[in-house]
Subunit: 338 residues, 2 copies
DNA sequence: CATCACCTGTATAACGTTATAGAGCCGCGC
DNA sequence: GCGCGGCTCTATAACGTTATACAGGTGATG
């Protein structure tokens, strides 16, 4: 089908090996022959067969980014960054959608998939420490975002507890007292939900506010629809909250919708805060106050770490890295930043 | 590194070829030996090296979906469908981000990238008929969404002109007379923008309404920010529009935001319609009326066509397929569907 | 002048798989 | 009793690349 090394070698009147050396500079080649070979390459339009190259090298140049929801803008934005970073380092990034399914996550961890992928960046939501430790596949693994700790892999995440603290402190600072949380999973199924609830409770306690279990709403998933339904339930309480902290921006946006439908004004009646800083939250009415993780840092660091491991480089520093976040005050809490 | 065919062959006491036959059923194998081999496979945990397989077969099992913006929910939703469909057919789908960059689209069309990919689904925005015709790479190509016609490739899209008609007819039906369009590109840079503007003009004419150039707003890109800015400009006109049709939902959502900021009520003062039916539009305040393409059909059809071509199957029917769309009436035009 | 090191370039053996040609065996029919 | 077809299985040649070992030539050094 395509032009291969042999064709170039014939055309340029040199050996196969020399062409290979010109192409990837493994060995020095004389200036005159290099030019002849280069000319042949240009004329015939050669590009290496990556399958063969990777068979020989033992690497494919492919890395995967597995996320629980492709349609969550947070992951789309993260993916865009990671794809660019990987491309810059000569790798191709494959998006994988686990759909928040436990089996899918397990299959990815040590499935046959692994043979074609040099390494995996995984945002786990249904598996924990044991499953990760039981992993047999040898290729490097970088975890992002959720709470699987004490495993021998790189892990990049924000401090979920601290992030919750910041959100709640802000709500308290603007005078709210009945603060709800939307997006807890009853069984602690999703680790980061657990952590964010913990931060919520700790911050309430620190502010001297009572913890009211009825103000913590569980959800099936973490989309807009889930946030909307949970908010409706909260509004149906005899004594509804005066502020809501959502597990993520999508949930918070769903809550905004429910509040609008019910005729409550935000932030006058109810203030709303999310996490993720997705672009959408800058265009809602009102705009959404949020905890903004440094997506660029997370995406780039995850890719760089993974590739460093693949290439066997020494990686300095601890396995677990907590990336910075900041509170972006917007209209939904009534005090927009400048 | 991994377990390979040879290991299995030794363990089971058979030849390499027999193991291969057991694995992919190319030739019949006796029941007794099949079981012995299968047992060895299970014990040693063999999975084929896809690189080697693909080198031999000449295919990689990878297809790419190249879109202009990963962070546009329309493409994220489409990608989710396409990934699932490809996986079901035994292929892995790689997401590629052209960032609406002409060079990136060209590189994809016949770049070296192609050597690792069996086929490409491309949503072109900066290239046209000539560039596609000049393509030299041999692997199958399926075009989606935009207007590159009369090329020897499958093309799956909605009828952009008809979609615009439907939107404008709806606005006229609810009594609007000064209807603006947001998201034209002055130079006709993006083909579908051109088509949607044409549908807009035709529908205005059919309704006996004058075409007012000042009500057609160009934008640099097609995101929320672009829609918001364009809407602000339109509102600054002496005689602002009573309805707005956005190039896509993101643009329309940006317009909603600008209207809210300026204190205009939607749909009472200005009605708004978009295209794409992204989930976000079901949660805005007000919810967004939109032209909904059949994303499931587009995604599945594109993948199925591409794989059929890769596998050399005969594909019946014309190259160009126009998939259905429907108008979803929501609050932004004041007449929600049941 | 012989030795050695060095610099270019070449021949070739992998990498792990699949497809082709063919070898052995058995039973059937002439 | 011999050939022949059918059934299993095997040996082996690719696929296109990279890395290793080596060959030839040149210039410097003892």
């Amino acid at each position: 089908m395509g032009v291969n090394l042999k064709d170039i070698a014939q055309r340029a009147g040199v050996s196969l090996a020399t062409v290979s050396n010109v192409v990837n500079g493994y060995r020095p080649v004389g200036e005159r022959t290099r030019q002849r070979v280069q000319q042949a390459i240009d004329e015939l339009g050669y590009s290496p067969n990556l399958g063969a190259r990777h068979l020989r090298r033992g690497r494919t140049g492919l890395i995967a980014l597995a996320v629980p929801e492709l349609t969550n803008p947070y992951f789309a934005e993260l993916a865009e960054i990671a794809i660019a970073e990987a491309a810059g380092l000569g790798y191709t990034l494959v998006m994988e959608n686990t759909a928040a399914d436990r089996e899918a996550e397990l299959a990815l961890l040590d499935g046959s998939r692994q043979r074609i992928i040099d390494g995996l960046i995984l945002s786990p939501v249904r598996i924990g420490r044991e499953e990760v430790l039981a992993r047999t596949a040898g290729s490097p693994l970088v975890l992002i975002g959720e709470g699987v700790y004490d495993v021998p892999h790189d892990h990049i995440a924000i401090d979920n507890v601290a992030a919750s603290h910041a959100a709640i402190r802000h709500l308290v600072a603007i005078g709210r007292r009945r603060i709800a949380f939307i997006g807890a999973t009853p069984g602690g199924d999703r680790q980061s939900a657990h952590l964010r609830v913990r931060g919520y409770r700790e911050a309430l306690a620190a502010a001297g506010l009572p913890y009211r279990p009825r103000l913590v709403a569980g959800t099936d998933a973490f989309g807009r629809l889930d946030g909307m339904r949970a908010m409706r339930d909260l509004l149906a309480l005899g004594d509804p909250p005066d502020a809501v902290f959502g597990y993520n921006d999508l949930v918070a946006i769903g809550a905004l919708r429910a509040l609008a439908e019910a005729g409550h004004r935000v932030p006058e009646h109810v203030a709303v805060v999310g996490i993720d800083d997705i672009e959408e939250g800058r265009f809602t009415a009102p705009t959404l106050t949020t905890i903004a993780p440094d997506k660029r840092e997370i995406g780039r660091l995850a890719v760089r770490r993974l590739i460093a491991r693949i290439e066997g480089a020494e990686v300095a520093g601890p396995l677990t890295v907590q990336t910075p976040f900041r509170l972006l005050r917007r209209e939904s809490t009534g005090t927009p930043d400048a």
